[in-house]
């Protein structure tokens, strides 16, 4: 049985349609991440699952039950909000108990549940504190605790880590992952951060402009993006994309030819977009026929690695290189070698990935 099923889900505000018929199935115990740029409809979709937004058209089922007209409280979902949504006048224990009291759970059961969940989340010493007396990470844990105590069938996360600093975000990401592995609750998680999506998800749903661009495991999406949007969205830095034209043996990009695995011969002359992941290249200071000549603009050291900003013709490119603690050798880079089996091709007109029999 699927955990959550969206079938032809549409959301419109008057004449303005913001979600255009989404089809998605989230399996039981699966962790699915909706990712996309701001305004792509991911939060609206999540809120429709929660019942905070009305569904204009389509069907939503949770564990087989149609939920379109069911009140949020009866959907058996719990939601973690971006700004935690903790009640400032209540302490941690009361915040976590809020939903249980509303549901008139017996007091001793509430206490046991809260003690158990506080133990899991490391919140036991803070149960008497108010949210204002907690750090960002602790508040986030309380928000998750409030969701967990309900023992819902589905967890909904609406950008829960975006208010945290980078270090804490990494830490909390790992905690969420561990928690999901431990509790095994079906989860739908919204973020605009592709790193969060890659690290947390069993499957990623990339959304753009109210539509799903691609659904798949993180590595499927990373290795085989369905189109230029997904290719440009996932990966840090994202995939380099250059306009080119297919030849008998590869793709002509500016004055260079990039060799490509597969049967491109029959497609010679076709306009394409050539995609190269920044980390897939080998940097070299010796030009040869299979290398892509570049003009190096800038080297950004990141410690163990560095980002190289370069140009090839009119195309702005970014490459990633291991530094081994030294970036002096990078200033002499004049070309990059691109392994032919890692080059991606997209149709120049539609942006869709081309599979030419590699």
């Amino acid at each position: 049985m699927s955990g959550v099923n969206l079938s032809g889900i549409v959301k419109a505000y008057g004449a303005l349609q913001v979600v255009h018929g989404i089809d998605l199935t989230v399996a039981e115990k699966e962790f699915v991440v909706l990712v996309g740029p701001s305004g792509c409809g991911k939060s609206t979709t999540l809120r429709m699952i929660a019942g905070l937004e009305e569904i204009t058209a389509g069907d939503l089922t949770i564990y087989g039950r149609r939920m379109n007209r069911v009140a949020p409280k009866d959907r058996d979902v719990a939601m973690v909000f971006q700004n935690y949504a903790l009640y400032p006048h209540l302490n941690v224990a009361d915040n976590m108990a809020f939903g249980l009291r509303i549901r008139k759970m017996p007091k001793d059961e509430i206490k046991t549940t809260i003690d158990d969940v506080a133990e899991i989340l490391g919140l036991t010493p803070y149960l008497d504190r108010r949210p204002a007396d907690l750090s960002g990470g602790q508040r986030q844990r309380v928000a998750m605790g409030r969701a967990i105590v309900r023992h819902p069938k589905v967890f909904l996360f609406d950008e829960p880590l975006s208010n945290l600093d980078a270090k804490l975000r990494t830490q909390m990401r790992a905690e969420i992952k561990r928690l999901h592995n431990r509790l095994g609750v079906t989860s739908v998680y919204v973020t605009h951060d592709q790193v969060e999506a890659m690290t947390l998800a069993d499957r990623i749903v990339v959304m753009n402009d109210g539509r799903i661009e691609q659904v798949g495991t993180p590595m499927e999406l990373f290795n085989n993006p369905a189109n230029t949007f997904v290719a440009g969205f996932l990966g840090s830095p994202p995939m380099n994309q250059m306009k080119g034209r297919l030849t008998e043996t590869g793709a002509q990009v500016g004055d260079a030819e990039i060799k490509i695995n597969g049967s491109v011969a029959g497609h010679a002359g076709r306009d394409v977009v050539v995609g190269i992941r920044p980390e897939h290249v080998t940097l070299t200071d010796e030009g040869n026929s299979s290398a892509l000549p570049i003009n190096l603009d800038l080297v950004e050291p990141l410690g163990s690695e560095a980002l190289l900003h370069a140009r090839h013709g009119d195309d702005q490119l970014v490459f990633k290189a291991d530094t081994n603690g030294d970036i002096s050798h990078l200033s002499g880079v004049t070309s990059v070698h691109v392994p032919s089996h890692l080059v991606k091709l997209f149709d120049a007109e539609t942006g869709r990935a081309l599979n030419l029999g590699a």
Partner: protein
């Protein structure tokens, strides 16, 4: 004769040097503070320029008149002036507290203020909570405009409306009373009706306008608190009690402290306009008594003593309310 390690005054040279260095350090620190202050004024002068009218208003209308407060302790004569009038100590206060009318006025002031606090203070809060629950935008806007309006009407007109409404011959209230088969009631001449009418009028006039501050506080409540509560299963009633009211509690407490500070300031104009000698028993408040004694009978010194008493009581009340609020709710005016 002093030895080489002491000063002429016999103080050890080492101590003198330490003191001199300390004095120099303090002087430098003071100079530094002045320099910083002058720099600050130069940098932010526009803000201080904007503050100036308020400061002038305070000085002219609130601080300068304080000079005249001394007549509460003097046998004041307008011919001798404030400075020339002789001191008489607490005599005016003794006169006040041996005056039955003043004691009655204090009692009336406190009683009316208590009713105002009991019924008048919650009214705008309840109104704001009710407005917050209205979903229909046009209806909400119309209703808000209607309840705000009385605030902008002069107290004289308000009193006129009240007098007309409660008129025993043509008033709508007495028309209704007659429909029920009772004799008309002379509401405004009977002491027992003054307080309900006065407090009710105050609520009618000010509750709508007073609700604005609470509506603003409600608007500031994080919407995800409500969304979270909806997902948790709370209904609107539970959300109001468990989210809205606790969230606006700091605003309520601040407004309450301010209100307590004004306990002795019962709406003077409205009392003057609505009361009459037959209702003095329940209607005469300190301010109206001061008006009659001070301005009409020319006893400015006695009136000043009564005014000072009012101010001291209000000061003590507001301090106490602020301290209690800070201690029990972490909310305070200062």
């Amino acid at each position: 004769m002093s030895d080489e390690n002491t000063t002429a005054g016999g103080q050890p040279i080492e101590d003198t040097l330490i003191e001199a260095r300390e004095a120099q350090r303090q002087q430098l620190a003071t100079d530094g503070r002045w320099v910083r202050l002058i720099d600050h004024f130069k940098r932010e002068w526009q803000i201080y320029a904007m503050l100036l009218p308020t400061i002038i208003w305070f000085l002219v209308f609130l601080y300068k008149p304080m000079y005249g407060l001394q007549i509460a302790f003097k046998d004041y004569s307008i011919f001798r002036g404030v400075a020339g009038s002789p001191w008489i100590g607490w005599e005016h206060f003794e006169t006040l507290f041996s005056n039955d009318q003043f004691i009655r006025a204090v009692r009336n002031t406190i009683t009316i203020s208590f009713y105002n606090l009991l019924f008048g203070f919650p009214a705008p809060i309840i109104l704001a909570l009710m407005f917050n629950e209205v979903m229909h935008a046009t209806y909400k806007r119309t209703a808000q405009t209607i309840v705000y309006l009385p605030h902008f009407i002069s107290s004289v007109i308000i009193a006129g409306i009240v007098i007309t409404a409660f008129s025993p011959t043509a008033g709508i209230i007495n028309t209704f009373v007659s429909w029920l088969g009772f004799d008309p009631i002379y509401f405004l001449t009977q002491p027992q009706w003054f307080r309900p009418i006065f407090v009710g009028t105050g609520i009618w006039q000010e509750a709508g306008f007073g609700s604005i501050v609470f509506l603003a506080a409600i608007a500031g409540v994080n919407p995800s608190l409500y969304e979270s509560a909806v997902v948790d299963g709370a209904n609107r009633w539970q959300m109001m009690w468990k989210i809205t009211i606790p969230s606006i509690l700091p605003t309520i407490l601040i407004m309450l402290i301010i209100r307590i500070g004004n306990v002795m300031e019962v709406s003077f104009e409205l009392v003057i306009l609505l009361y009459q000698p037959s209702t003095y028993e329940t209607a005469d408040v300190v301010n109206t008594w001061v008006y009659r004694q001070g301005l009409q009978s020319g006893q400015y010194d006695l009136a000043a003593a009564a005014g000072l008493f009012n101010a001291v009581v209000a000061f003590v009340l507001v301090m106490a309310a602020n301290t209690l609020s800070r201690r029990y709710s972490r909310t305070s005016l200062w």
